[in-house]
Symmetry: C2
Subunit: 358 residues, 2 copies
């Protein structure tokens, strides 16, 4: 199966570990290597390097090249980020250009999967359905009433497939309030939308032609330039006039084509903040719930998350629920409950002209 790994994020939520030049997908935060490398390696049983297309920001090509220098992965540089719909469209025409006629998995580069075996099984199951010409999403089986994710609602009855459950999708729903999220969890008919889709390139493009004609037109303009010297300039011209829109919002919420969901209990997390990283690593915590990475000394702390990457010793005394991230040139100390608001720090730095730190 071909795969398009979407690597365009420029997230600030892992500042100061993440920077514009080295966003989350290039960080080793889940312990084995940069997240994008983990994402690619995870697909190996299903996808050869030659079938792997990485779509990333132009400014990150150098960083990515370092990690994949000996591998035959295809890399496409977006001149500017335009959200997931253009990214997937670009991946789709490139996969077709490479000769792909079967299903393509479209996945974010910066998600964590705790159980890759289950994930790959469910992803190939999605491929088996998608090969018929539908769009199939891998729905994450929720284990809590999370309000930070969008949800996918399935039909009550499973469709008939070879070896297990897949469902028609009834609707894609936005991030819910807590009360709704509790209800979603209780019905068993909702999954988290992890932004993972499987579809044939022509299926994707057909949807774009109907629903996002401007994008489709741009892609058709780009198509004859693939593999030529004109690619880069054409891509820039096309992207310049594209609107930024997500695949969820631009395609999935209004599609009239059949859409299916394959539920997956694969230990997924979008690792969207330091707090959710902490939640992922509870088994590495000490008896007081403290998580320490690097050279740290804690006295009377509880639920502290210390990431000491700055080459110096970090000592903590009497802290509760605190986040300390030390890097060579910047240090963050925050209440863990405020982990979602780290962008305010980044914005304050920008406002002060401290662009070297963002």
């Amino acid at each position: 199966m071909f795969a398009v790994v979407m690597c365009g994020g420029s997230g600030t939520r892992f500042w100061p570990a993440s920077r514009q030049k080295r966003p989350k997908q290039f960080l080793n935060i889940t312990g084995k290597g940069p997240m994008v490398v983990e994402t690619c390696d995870r697909l190996r049983p299903l996808t050869q390097d030659e079938e792997l297309i990485l779509v990333l920001g132009e400014q990150h090509m150098g960083e990515a090249a370092r990690y994949f220098e000996d591998r035959k992965i295809h890399m496409l540089a977006e001149p500017v980020g335009r959200n997931t719909a253009p990214c997937m469209g670009l991946g789709a025409i490139y996969a077709a250009y490479l000769g792909c006629r079967g299903p393509v998995a479209f996945l974010p580069a910066d998600h964590f999967i705790g159980d890759p075996v289950t994930f790959l099984r469910d992803l190939s199951r999605a491929g088996e359905i998608a090969v018929q010409g539908s769009i199939v999403t891998v729905g994450i089986v929720p284990d809590r009433p999370e309000t930070g994710y969008g949800y996918i609602r399935r039909a009550p009855e499973p469709m008939e497939t070879g070896d297990g459950a897949a469902y028609r999708v009834v609707e894609f729903v936005e991030k819910p309030e807590l009360e709704k999220a509790v209800h979603y969890l209780s019905t068993g008919e909702y999954y988290w939308n992890g932004g993972i889709f499987v579809a044939r390139p022509d299926t994707v493009l057909q949807e774009m032609e109907t629903q996002l004609p401007g994008l489709y037109e741009g892609l058709m303009e780009l198509k004859p330039a693939l593999g030529t010297d004109r690619f880069k300039t054409t891509l820039k011209r096309v992207y310049d006039r594209l609107e930024g829109i997500s695949f969820d919002y631009g395609i999935m919420e209004n599609t009239e084509a059949p859409v299916y969901v394959v539920p997956s209990a694969c230990g997924w997390s979008d690792v969207g903040s330091w707090r959710s990283l902490y939640a992922l690593k509870t088994d590495e915590c000490d008896a007081q719930g403290n998580l320490c990475e690097g050279d740290a000394i804690l006295v009377d702390c509880q639920q502290a998350f210390v990431s000491a990457q700055g080459g110096r010793t970090v000592a903590c005394l009497g802290l509760r629920n605190c986040l300390v991230v030390d890097t060579e040139d910047a240090l963050l100390v925050a209440d863990q409950d405020r982990a979602q608001d780290i962008r305010e720090i980044v914005e304050a730095l920008k406002a002060k002209g401290r662009n070297n730190l963002v």
Copy 2:
């Protein structure tokens, strides 16, 4: 007036800014220079450099020499710290050796004085009384029921002096519980014991002969070695067998000689912790009570004290009552209410053999 500045502390309460090699008295924490330099400079109108005797730990001679290289201050190196009584005894015999027959001021090197003019006035008043042969202490007029200091209780009626109030001392009392401290404050008859004494060398030595004969004997052994090649080895031999004891406990609590106190409202602080330093600097705080030194960015913080001396940017988000001290090789993040317990961090570092950091 001669002065003996006692510079022997090896405090850990300002870790990581203070280290064994560079304790608090050598730090610039109150803003004008190293505390020991501030202490010496403050005495200038009263005491010439030639009348100034600095008693410090052998290991700090190099550090001190850097600050006073062009000045004719006398420096005496204690081979080992033995608390204030031996230190003052050494200062007393040295002052006598230098020809001093009048009063000597004995003061700690690492205290803050907000109003030096008032302090010097009160110190010279103490000198005027001490010249008659008594021990006079400068009592700090309390402005709050502090439980962290010892107190000096005065007689109800002032003694007759030339130009203002001085009192017989009734007793020296240990650090009180809060209830007692509130009572002390309400009577108006108690002062904080700042460890500042004025007395003639012979008065001090006479008290030592009576109350600390072992110390007196050592000092008499040392006396003929002053100014000779034998000084250093004799000092070491004498100090080796001395017991460590404070002047308060060893002399003042049991003396039968008359002792006087000159009250002083001189804005004194012993700057005993990061928290008390923060309290000293409230006028430098922002509207949320945050105190920032160095390159710091705060978002939604209250009563945060950030000292960024590590050459990197410190960003804080959503903190309450937090202390952040960043230095080149070590970082401290603590609840300000735990500022007194920083020694636990230092002990933990020692236990781990991290002696380069203590």
